[in-house]
Amino acid sequence: MKFLDNMSFGQYVPADSPIHRADPRCKIVSAVALITGVFLVKEPLGFSSWIAVLIFLSRLSRIGIPMMLRTVRPVMLLIAFTAVINVFFTSGTPLWEMGPVSITSEGIRMGIYMSLRLLLLVLFANLLTLTTSPMALADGIESLLSPFKKIGMPAHDIAMMMTIALRFIPTLLNETDRIMKAQLARGADLDRGGLIRRLKAFIPVLIPLFVIVFQRADDLAVAMEARCYRGGGGRTRMKPFIWSWRDGLSLVFVIISVVVITLLEGRLKL
């Protein structure tokens, strides 16, 4: 039994596809645009168009719908919760009533739309992380933030922190797994009892984990010092980003589709 073994959220799946090859900056801006687009629609037509776009993009990325859906499993609870809240707490014409609780047709609509919206948001965001390696993602963000350097934003440092954090997620998951097993072997009960008891039971896992994290941070700092790391000033890249016409064209298409879907829906509603 591997305790923490779910491939999910934020995982990179290497493949050879046009989306994998695209410039990370193009993908980041596109993802932001697509998510904005998802929040601008409020009618079935808009939602179905975005679902169509999502299917098209996941085909193009060779990731496939089943894999995409697996990545939303961790947030499914949140999405279900949103749906339920909306169904019960939206005022309108009641369809069914019992005491203070009532279900309205508006509520059902809102419930479906809000959960669809969240689902699409997570899926578009995951499409970005599934097709972009953590390094490329961090470098892309650095590059996009670099104009703000002039007003004092430490773009390079932010990107470096992101890279390091992402790099250590799998390592720390392994460490956690190992320490959990070690404490289980000493008779710890990690999955019984109420919330407070479980939290308390986790102390023997969390303290060693903290010690390890600080040790690792220290080692990493020494290793970086030893290689004369002094932040971003004057650093060059082994593989500089090249913004090709394909990236430009893709971005234009994404923005056009956001505008068209939003406008079209507004039109039809009138």
């Binding site: 039994m1 073994d5 320490i179 097993k181 000493r186 008779g187 010690v211």
Partner: protein, 281 residues
């Protein structure tokens, strides 16, 4: 009384493209009170096997029975984990308590053994060669070797019948390694079976009653140290190198000098000497 493993198969990442059989069809028997070493190359499945012995991992196929408790019965798992103490690699990393005493009473409290915790802590500390002045110290302020001994003591605190150690000598210097092995030998002599997972064949040959060599998740050979050396000299197991003294013993017998097997240089020298005097007569 023994740990008995029958046709054990363990598969990681079942049903995904990363599926890999870490152990396939492994059968073995670890008698109570014995010292068994499990040797093998990195990735041979030896750590996976160790975790099966106290039911931290459960078999995909096959059976693990400790004394008369089977891991297939869920209600026996806790008792199995008490009977088979498992010391992970770098066990000093699992320390968390404020004092050594709290650290040592963690296991006993989990199993509801709350009588005489002070005496118990003192007793297990003594077993790992530390005195009672350590009881009130912080485990984080001890030296590396002391931390490891406290961690081992914390497993001994629930008086397991079997002590499984995963690479207990990793990262220790020569004197630390020698001292730890001496302690383990003492623990073994007092009746606790020791199962040592290691890739250091020299230690295994020197200390064990029986050696089990794993290769790619299968038992390549199991037998006494002498048999193991004989087997490996004709069937090398990748990643396991015979120590030069064992190699010397094999070469001597090839040249007609048959002497009792030993991995200890002075015993071997004595044996050679006796043999020579014998032939001269």
């Amino acid at each position: 009384m023994s740990i008995s493993i029958k046709n054990l198969t363990h598969i990681y990442h079942r049903g995904t493209p990363l599926e890999v059989a870490a152990l396939s069809d492994v059968s073995l028997e670890i008698p109570g009170g014995s010292w068994t070493s499990i040797v093998g190359h990195t990735g041979s499945g030896k750590s996976t096997l160790a975790q099966h012995m106290n039911a931290l991992l459960l078999p995909d196929m096959g059976e693990v029975v400790v004394d008369d408790l089977s891991v297939s019965s869920k209600k026996d798992l806790r008792e199995i984990r008490r009977k088979v103490g498992l010391v992970f690699q770098y066990p000093e990393q699992q320390l968390f308590a404020e004092t050594v005493k709290d650290e040592l009473s963690f296991g006993p409290k989990n199993w509801g053994m709350t009588d005489n915790l002070d005496d118990l802590s003192e007793k297990v500390l003594d077993q790992v060669g530390l005195d009672r002045t350590y009881l009130d110290r912080s485990p984080f302020k001890l030296s590396g070797g002391e931390k490891r001994r406290v961690a081992i003591a914390s497993v001994l605190a629930v008086s397991p019948s079997y002590l499984v150690l995963d690479e207990p000598t990793a990262g220790l210097d020569a004197s630390g390694r020698g001292y730890l092995l001496k302690l383990l030998n003492k623990i073994n002599n007092s009746g606790t079976a020791v199962v040592m997972v290691t890739h250091d064949l020299e230690i295994a040959l020197d200390m064990s009653d029986r050696i089990i060599a794993l290769q790619l998740g299968k038992v390549a050979h199991s037998g006494s140290p002498r048999d193991t050396v004989l087997y490996m000299s004709s069937n090398p197991v990748p990643g396991l190198l015979l120590p030069s003294i064992a190699d010397l013993w094999v070469k001597l017998s090839k040249y007609g000098m048959e002497i009792p097997f030993s991995c200890d240089p002075s015993t071997m020298a004595k044996n050679i000497d006796e043999k020579r005097r014998g032939t001269k007569k």
